[in-house]
C-alpha cells in the first residue's frame, strides 16, 4: 500500500460523451465549463444592465418584450419601480458571483493552476467536478427566481435586513425571491469551498520536482491567495444565508428587530439585529471583492512579463503585496457601514486599515508601471487588455481614497460615486483581466489563435466605452445623485438626466461591441489558425506542453523545473527567454544564488 493518494490520471483518459464533456474529472474541462457559465452569466448580467439603463434614461419607455419576462413587473412593457430594483439586484448578484468570482478564479484557475505547478490534475477531482455542478445548480436556482410569481428579490445584492428578512410584506419578490436568492448563494458557497480546497491542496502538495513556492508564476500565487480568501469568506456567508432563510421559513428573528410596522401591519418578529446581517455579509463582502480582483492582478502580471520581455521590478514584493491586500481585506469591511448606525469610533477603526490597504495596492501598481518604463512592448491584444486593466484599477482606486474617509462617505454613501468606484476598480478591471486572460490563453486552451486585429478593435472600443459609461458616475455622485433609485423625479436630479441618457447610449454601444469578442471567440474556436505550443514565447509550464494540453497535461512525463518563470531578456536556446523546464543553468552577475 502506498501513502500518496493516487493522482486522477493514473488511469486512461475517459471515453464516452458524459464522462468526457459533462461530468468530467479533468480540471481543464471543468475550467472551460466554468468559463462557459461565466460567459452566459455575463451576457445575462449585461442584458439586465441595458434594461436598467434604458429605464433610468427614459422612465416611461416601453421596452419591447419586457412583459414576457414579467407580466406584473412590466405591464405594457413599462418597468414598475419595484421591478427596476429586482433587475438591479439580479444584475449585481449575477455579475459579482457568477462572473467576477467564477471567470478569473474558477475558470482560469482550474484550467491552469495544475499545469503551472506541473501536476497531472488536482488532488480531489471528484470534489472539483462537484464544485462546478454545484455552482451550476446555484446559477439555475438564482435565475429561476425570475420566473416565480412575484419575481426575484429587490433588496440589492447586499440584501440588507430587515428588508430582506421579513417576507413578502415588504414588496414583490421578498418572499420566495429572497429564499431562492439565499439558497442559491448558500449553494454557491459550498461549490466555492470545494474549489478552494482543491486549489490550496494543489498548490501546497502537487508541485512538480524543482517547483519551489518562489518558482511559481504570479498567477499561481494569485489563485493560491484568492483560494485562502475564498475558503474563509464563503464559509461565513453560508451560515448568514442560512440564518436569513430561517428568518423567512422558520419564523426566527435573527435579523428582524421588534415593533416594526410595514404596510400598517405590526410584524411578528422581535429582538433581531439588522446590523448583524451587515457585519456577517460585509465580513464576506470585502474579501469577496478582492477575490474578484487578485486573480486579475496575477493574470496581468503574468501577461505583462511575457510582453515586455523582461521581469517585473520585484516579484516577491508583488506576492507579499497581494498577500497583504488579502490579510487587510478582513479588517476593512466596516467601511461599507460608515453610515449604518454603528458606533462612529468603529468607523475610525475601519477607515484606518482601509487607507493602509491602499499601500500594498499602490505598490502593486507601481511595480507594474515601473516595469513598463523603458520596456519594448509587444502590443498584442492580451497586453493591451492588461494595460487597460491597470488603467481601470488606478481610476477606481483613486475614488476609493475619498470613500475611505467617513467624513466624506457621509456625503458619498449610496450615491453614484460609489457605483462608479466599484465598477472601475472591481468590475471593469476584472473584466479586462478576464479578456486579457482569454486572449493570452485561448491558444493553449483550444489550440487555435484568436484574431488579433478583431481583438485590438474590441479593446479600444471597450476601453473608450467603459470610460464613457463609468467616468460620469463620479460626477453624478458628487452632484448627490442617489443610487438604487429607479427614476429621478426630484428637482435637483432633473439636470442630471441627460448625463444618464449619455451613459445609457454608451452602455448599449459598449455592450454591442462585445459581439466582436463573441464572434472572435466562436470563430477562432473552430476556424482559427492552429496555435503553436508557445505562441507568446513565455516561460511558465503551461507553454512547455502542447496546445491544447494532453489529457494528463504533460504526456505522461511530469516536467522538471530548473528556473523561476521570470527568465525574460536573456538569450536562451529558443530565443530571448529561458523556459522553466530548460535545463540550461544561468547565473547573472550581482544576483542572489
Amino acid at each position: 500500500m502506498h501513502d500518496m493518494s493516487a493522482p486522477a490520471h493514473a488511469a486512461q483518459a475517459p471515453t464516452g460523451f458524459l464522462s468526457k464533456h459533462v461530468f468530467s474529472l479533468d480540471h481543464k474541462v471543468i475550467g472551460k465549463q466554468y468559463y462557459g457559465l461565466a460567459l452566459l452569466a455575463a451576457i445575462i448580467g449585461m442584458f439586465l444592465s441595458w434594461v436598467m439603463r434604458i429605464h433610468l434614461g427614459w422612465t416611461s419607455f416601453a421596452i419591447p418584450g419586457l412583459h414576457f419576462l414579467s407580466k406584473n413587473g412590466a405591464p405594457g412593457d413599462v418597468m414598475t419601480p419595484e421591478y427596476y430594483l429586482q433587475l438591479m439586484t439580479m444584475h449585481g448578484t449575477i455579475m459579482v458571483f457568477f462572473v467576477l468570482t467564477t471567470a478569473p478564479f474558477a475558470a482560469f484557475g482550474n484550467f491552469f493552476l495544475p499545469i503551472q505547478v506541473g501536476a497531472e490534475d488536482m488532488p480531489f477531482p471528484h470534489f472539483n467536478m462537484m464544485s462546478f455542478w454545484i455552482t451550476f445548480v446555484s446559477f439555475v436556482v438564482m435565475v429561476s427566481s425570475f420566473f416565480v410569481a412575484d419575481g426575484p428579490t429587490l433588496g440589492g445584492w447586499t440584501q440588507y435586513a430587515p428588508l430582506s428578512a421579513m417576507g413578502s410584506v415588504t414588496g414583490p419578490g421578498q418572499g420566495l425571491g429572497v429564499v431562492l436568492w439565499a439558497s442559491s448563494i448558500a449553494i454557491f458557497c459550498i461549490g466555492q469551498l470545494l474549489g478552494s480546497l482543491n486549489f490550496i491542496t494543489t498548490t501546497l502538495d502537487m508541485r512538480t520536482k524543482g517547483m519551489s513556492l518562489w518558482r511559481m508564476p504570479l498567477t499561481t500565487w494569485a489563485w493560491f491567495i484568492t483560494s485562502i480568501m475564498g475558503l474563509t469568506a464563503f464559509a461565513v456567508l453560508m451560515p448568514a444565508c442560512i440564518l436569513l432563510i430561517l428568518d423567512h421559513v422558520a419564523g426566527t428573528s435573527f435579523f428582524v428587530p421588534s415593533n416594526l410596522v410595514v404596510n400598517d401591519q405590526l410584524q411578528p418578529h422581535s429582538g433581531g439585529s439588522t446590523l448583524l446581517w451587515q457585519h456577517l455579509f460585509w465580513f464576506f463582502g470585502h474579501p469577496e471583492v478582492y477575490i474578484a480582483i487578485v486573480p486579475a492582478m496575477g493574470i496581468v502580471s503574468h501577461i505583462l512579463m511575457a510582453n515586455i520581455r523582461r521581469p517585473l521590478l520585484s516579484h516577491r514584493i508583488l506576492v507579499y503585496s497581494m498577500g497583504a491586500v488579502a490579510v487587510l481585506s478582513y479588517m476593512v469591511y466596516g467601511h461599507h457601514m460608515f453610515v449604518s448606525g454603528m458606533n462612529p469610533i468603529s468607523s475610525i477603526a475601519f477607515s484606518f486599515p482601509t487607507l493602509i490597504i491602499t499601500i500594498p495596492a499602490t505598490i502593486i501598481v507601481l511595480i507594474w508601471l515601473g516595469s513598463l518604463y523603458g520596456a519594448r512592448m509587444r502590443l498584442n491584444t492580451a497586453c493591451l487588455f492588461s494595460l487597460g486593466m491597470i488603467s481601470m484599477f488606478i481610476t477606481g482606486g483613486i475614488s476609493g481614497f475619498f470613500l475611505a474617509q467617513p467624513s466624506l462617505d457621509i456625503m458619498l454613501h449610496a450615491t453614484y460615486f460609489v457605483v462608479g468606484h466599484f465598477h472601475f476598480v472591481m468590475a471593469v478591471s476584472a473584466m479586462f483581466g478576464i479578456f486579457a486572460g482569454t486572449y493570452f490563453w485561448f491558444p493553449k486552451m483550444y489550440g487555435r489563435m484568436m484574431n488579433d486585429t478583431l481583438g485590438k478593435i474590441h479593446f479600444w472600443l471597450t476601453f473608450v466605452g467603459a470610460y464613457c459609461i463609468f467616468m460620469p458616475f463620479h460626477y453624478l455622485g458628487l452632484a448627490s445623485n442617489v443610487r438604487r433609485y429607479q427614476a429621478f423625479v426630484d428637482d435637483y436630479l432633473q439636470p442630471l438626466i441627460p448625463v444618464h441618457r449619455f451613459i445609457t447610449v454608451a452602455a448599449i454601444a459598449t455592450g454591442l461591441v462585445q459581439l466582436i469578442f463573441l464572434y472572435n471567440l466562436i470563430h477562432s474556436r473552430f476556424w482559427g489558425k492552429p496555435a503553436p505550443d508557445n505562441p507568446w514565447e513565455a516561460t511558465s509550464l503551461e507553454w512547455s506542453t502542447s496546445s491544447p494540453p494532453p489529457f494528463d497535461n504533460f504526456g505522461g512525463k511530469l516536467p522538471v523545473v530548473y528556473h523561476d518563470p521570470y527568465q525574460y531578456g536573456i538569450e536562451g536556446s529558443t530565443g530571448d527567454y529561458v523556459m522553466q523546464t530548460d535545463p540550461q543553468q544561468i547565473q547573472t552577475q550581482g544576483d542572489e544564488a
Binding site: 508541485r207 531578456g569 552577475q589 544564488a593
Partner: protein, 225 residues
Amino acid sequence: MATTIHPPGAKEIRDLRPSNTSGNGGRRDRVPAGSELRAVQEYAPPPASTGVWVFVAGVSMTFAALTSALVVRKGGALDWRHVTLPSILYLNTLVLLASSVTLEISRCHVAAFMGGVKATTGNPARWLYATLSLGMLFLAGQYIAWRQLSAQGLYLATNPSSSFFYVFTAAHALHLLGGLFAMGRVIRKLNEHVLSRATLDATAHYWHFMDVLWIYLLVLLWMKL
C-alpha cells in the same frame, strides 16, 4: 550586465534587455552556477492530509460566524430567555469522546495490519465499526435532546436562544454525518484492502476535530444560552 552560462562549452549568454534599465530587474531564484539542481523539498505531504486541515479551517470559520451571530444577537436583546441544556447532551459528549478513543485504538490496529503484522485477533475493522456505532449513537442522542427541548415547548422559533441551540447542534450534526460517511468509506476501503494511510489519518483528524468542536459548542451553549 554580464551573464555567464554553465555548463561550460556553451556560447556566452547575452543579456538582451535595453541598457537603460536600472537594477537587476528583481532577478531571483537562479539555479546556482555549477551546482546541482536547487534542492527543493522532495517530500510533499499526502494531499488528503493537507485537504482535511483546509476543510477544518473552513468549518471553523462557519462556526466562528455563528458564534459571533450568537454574541451579537444576545447582546442587548430583551427577548433572550435562558435555556437549560438537556442533560443527555453530557452523556452524548462522553459517547463522542469514547468514539475518539476507539478511533485511536483502531488506527493502531489498522496500522499493524497494514504493516503486515499478523493480526492478533479478529477483524482490524472492528474498532472502526465501534467508532461508527458510537457516532451514530451520538446523533441519536442529539435527536433525543431535541425531543426533550421540544417537550418543554422550546422550538426553533420560540426564542432566540432556542433558535441558536437548534442551529448550532444541527450544524454540528450535519458535519458529523459527513464524518460518518467518511468513516464508512474508510471501512469499505479497508475491507477491500485498498485503504491508504493518508485516508485513514485524514478521516481520523476530521473526526477528532468534530469532537473538539462539540466540546467548544457545549461550553459556548452552556455559557451563553
